[in-house]
């Protein structure tokens, strides 16, 4: 065979190997980012469940003290069942925001019940509910960070080409509903 051909074949092989190496790197990166998104969602889900589980305890503790705050208590229960029945991630987040608002009102109202405020059980529940709320906020932040990293990879060159081959589509970030951005007003 002509040496020219040998050199050409050699060059083609080099290019193919180089290409495969890049594809390999991007494939792993895309899968890793995708798993990170799924994992961060799982983290949010765990916290949402934990939070919903705490509500019956809180209701039990509060019931005896806040007899005249039916509406406030009902809102909390309603928000809790919304979390339990949510289908999509965004639905869960919306329901959780509802719960956050309802709890804020409840804790604000609780300020005018000195007996309740002195209840150790109530204090612990309040701490833990605030803690899960913060955890959800930070998990959501990490989720959105992960989605951003994933989307950046599959939308920029050359990741966009590989992503198309792999059938990967951009993911949606979790939005915070407008209503929950403002501090709930509490009137006494």
């Amino acid at each position: 065979m002509d040496p020219i051909w040998l050199i050409l074949i050699f060059i083609v092989v080099i290019i193919v190997v180089f290409f495969l190496l890049i594809y390999w790197g991007f494939y792993n990166r895309i899968i890793r980012y995708e798993n990170r998104i799924d994992n961060s969602w799982a983290q949010i889900d765990v916290q949402l469940k934990r939070r919903a589980d705490l509500i019956p305890n809180l209701m039990e503790t509060v019931k005896g003290y806040m007899k005249h705050e039916r509406e406030t208590l009902e809102n909390v229960t309603k928000a809790r069942s919304a979390i339990m029945s949510a289908k999509t991630p965004q639905d869960s987040i919306n329901a959780d925001n509802m719960l956050t608002g309802a709890l804020k009102t409840l804790f604000a109202v609780a300020e005018s019940y000195p007996d309740l405020k002195a209840n150790q059980n109530f204090l612990n529940l309040q701490d833990e509910l605030t803690h899960t709320e913060d955890k959800i906020a930070y998990s959501r932040q990490h989720f959105n960070d992960s989605v951003l990293a994933f989307n950046n990879t599959i939308e920029t060159f050359p990741g966009n080409i590989f992503a198309r081959w792999m059938g990967k589509k951009e993911r949606l970030m979790l939005q915070i509903p407008e209503a929950s951005r403002e501090v709930p007003k509490v009137s006494f």
Binding site: N39, D127, H131, K135, H142
Partner: protein, 300 residues
């Protein structure tokens, strides 16, 4: 990726420091052998295994030695303040996407905190009781965010191993100098009789032994200073609130430690150097000046 590069660099730095310390220790033992008149092969046969064993032992126990040098104890979830600290650590771990570190508390009135561990899965975050009591939630969050970034970037690996390996060598060098001082008095007459050649080696050995702790200091301020700005920025990114950390640093600045506790060896691990003189910006300080850090956080 930037974080990955940083992690790789930190792992490489750890290896370099371990090798450097291995050679330094071997050199010290070799020099002592020379002074005592042992043949070089004998010094090598003794020195090399000792040096290797030293590195391996101090490396594996570095986390424990850091925690015990700081006098830290596991946080008690029954105490409300310490429970809040555990909560904040859990939250920041979620924000960073890391496993939750073990939480320790150091009983001290100063406001300070540090992170240690060789990898994120076994990381420890320790805060002083002063920090827990005097910082509000936002400020505490800023401090924990800073420490969490050290864990994420694997700064904890370099810092912990360096403190473990270097801290112990500083101690050993001290002991050796003391031994040499006593040996020098009793053996003085003998080396005089042997003449000039031996005396030069003796002087060289002494110089080397005196230099050893200075060298070990040099390595550890070289490793910690430039990492602080990065951890400040990353921590602020985690909390989305640079002001929290800025205010915490202001409180640390205002609350000058009057009786710094713990070991100087652990100093580079803390969020702010617990020793007063380190507040001045000199090449000897392990941390960048607080004013500069606060300024940078405020301009984010």
């Amino acid at each position: 990726m930037l974080v990955e590069d940083h992690i790789r660099k930190n792992k490489r730095d750890t290896l370099i420091i371990c090798i450097f310390m291995l050679l330094l220790l071997f050199g010290i033992i070799f020099a002592i052998g020379y002074v005592l008149g042992a043949p070089p092969i004998f010094s090598t046969a003794i020195g090399l295994p000792i040096a290797i064993a030293y590195i391996l032992i101090t490396y594996s126990f570095s986390v424990q030695s850091v925690l015990s040098a700081a006098g830290a104890r596991p946080a008690n979830p029954q105490n409300r303040d310490e429970k809040i600290l555990i909560y904040k650590v859990e939250e920041m771990a979620l924000a960073a996407g890391l496993p939750t570190p073990t939480v320790y508390v150091q009983d001290s009135r100063d406001i300070n905190a540090f992170a240690t561990g060789k990898k994120p899965e076994e990381a420890v975050i320790c805060a002083t009781t002063g920090a827990i009591q005097q910082l509000n939630k936002e400020e505490l969050e800023g401090v924990i965010g800073h420490e969490m970034s050290h864990i994420k970037n694997r700064d904890i690996l370099v810092m912990t191993v360096t403190v473990g390996v270097v801290g112990a060598i500083a101690l050993i060098a001290e002991i050796v100098i003391r031994m040499l001082f006593w040996g020098g008095i009793s053996g003085g007459g003998r080396s005089n009789r042997k003449g000039g050649g031996n005396a030069i080696i003796l002087i060289l050995a002494i110089i080397f032994i005196i230099l050893a702790p200075i060298f070990s200091r040099l390595t550890y301020f070289a490793i910690s200073r430039r990492r602080e700005y990065l951890a400040d920025a990353d921590g602020a990114y985690l909390t989305r609130n640079p002001e929290g950390l800025a205010r915490a640093l202001e409180k640390i600045k205002a609350d000058l430690p009057d009786d710094p506790k713990g070991s100087k060896t652990v100093a580079p691990l803390y969020i702010a150097n617990p020793f007063k003189r380190a507040l001045r910006n000199s090449i000897w300080s392990t941390h960048p000046p607080l004013d500069e850090r606060i300024k940078r956080l405020r301009s984010m």
